[in-house]
Symmetry: C2
Subunit: 240 residues, 2 copies
DNA sequence: AGTGAAACAGAACACTGTTCGTCAGGTCGG
DNA sequence: CCGACCTGACGAACAGTGTTCTGTTTCACT
């Protein structure tokens, strides 16, 4: 019996050695058209997300890009949520994990987080899928293991390191999601000027926001990203 | 001319004193039915979210709860996104902001964040709306001002305090969203036992994850929440 | 050859947010 | 007093979505 998508998904979730025997081609090949595979679906899905954003990634959009109907995808993928999870998996599998070096643990952690941020931003909005996907995916666990190893090498207590990995992961994802939202969806504020004007125009019940409007609106998203990362890592230092 | 929902929304975004003159009843009242107002819509919306979760909050669901058609809502609300923003606004307006006390700044910040967490969890999944909604809403800015004031009173630099407020807000929202996802959507892992079993069953390329599976799976969501909060606040200390 | 299973594909279902045209009922000018 | 008018309410419909049901095609194996 060949594996149904459900079985593949279950296998993916408990790391079992996937037979993955794609086997010789079955079904109608209709001329020279490439057979639909999970990898092909993921390739076109990434293409769509990179070009039109995650919101545009629908089953029909992938199907028409593959010149077929929506139902054809369900032979390879359980559902849309499963597709999202596969995308995140492949994304995480391209993260380079350094060999833990106790002397450079801070740069190493920041490097991994920055890689994640770059991957998320290369495919706008895909971080939404990362937030929703189960944290028990094999590829997700792999980068978790990598970050965990770095923090352990830095001398942090296992309990502290474990929870910090979760916190970092969550923050990176949320930050990327926020960036993709304010970037693509709306032109809420074209520049900081408009936001500054709104903040300084607030009523008297917002004294600090008015006074420090410059500080509140300053900094690029990348600046705020590294700031928060360092904030958490500093906290780690003073705890361990 | 009476204000269209678009005008109300614009007014809401630049704090103008809303006339809000509901005026005498107009239009068909058809018997003893209450007239549809924005507040009434929000009340029923909160009811639906509290009972069935944010995913179940659709225009049609609200409309049928009000015994009317979906289009009737669009006379009071611009669109679904606007409704979400209004919900977050009301949610934030119920947060109690303490008078800043430099001696107790840490407890005060944690109190505000915990209040936010409780509000988010009272209405499962609504944190998704909080992530998407513009951070320039008046009520959102109000709790931002409150947290900002506490951090400033603690002696933090304005720039540091400003970015920390953003980081805290983002983390609280993301944490609540994650909790609501693993709670309601799937029974991914009934208990920690199953997750532990999966982690310890990982291949040899996950040495740390296997060894410290207990630490990785320990702690309630509330424990991890306060841990991360303290992590960031400790970092704040060592920076300022 | 024949058979069974797997892959592909089209139509349809139950939803979603949103809009158009219309209807009812109170308000106001004459 | 009474028709014109405005305004809120509403039914129907449109363009989408994810998903499933029902075939149809094509290959590998007996």
């Amino acid at each position: 019996m060949s594996p149904t998508p459900e079985q593949r998904r279950a296998a993916r979730h408990q790391f079992g050695a996937v037979p993955s025997g794609a086997g010789p081609r079955r079904g109608p090949s209709r001329g020279t058209k490439k057979p639909i595979t999970v990898d092909l679906i993921l390739d076109t899905a990434f293409d769509i997300v990179a070009r039109e954003g995650f919101e545009a990634l629908t089953m029909r959009r992938v199907a028409t890009a593959l010149e077929t109907g929506p139902s054809s995808l369900y032979a390879h993928v359980v559902n849309k949520e499963d597709l999202d999870e596969l995308l995140i998996g492949r994304l995480c599998s391209e993260i380079e994990l350094p060999e833990p070096d106790p002397a450079a643990w801070r740069e190493q952690i920041i490097s991994v987080c920055t890689q994640l941020r770059e991957q998320y931003q290369r495919f706008p909005g895909i971080s939404r899928a990362a937030l929703a996907s189960a944290p028990a995916n094999t590829d997700t666990l792999r980068v978790g293991e990598g970050m965990f190893a770095i923090l352990l090498a830095s001398g942090a207590e296992p309990q502290t390191a474990a929870w910090t990995v979760d916190a970092l992961n969550l923050y990176v994802t949320a930050h990327s999601l926020e960036v993709s939202l304010i970037r693509g969806d709306k032109a809420w504020v074209a520049g900081r000027d408009e936001l500054m004007a709104r903040l300084t125009g607030l009523p008297d019940s917002f004294p600090n926001t008015r006074r420090y409007a410059a500080e509140l609106t300053s900094g690029s998203t990348a600046d705020r990203f590294t700031f928060t990362l360092n904030l958490m890592l500093d906290g780690l230092n003073s705890q361990g």
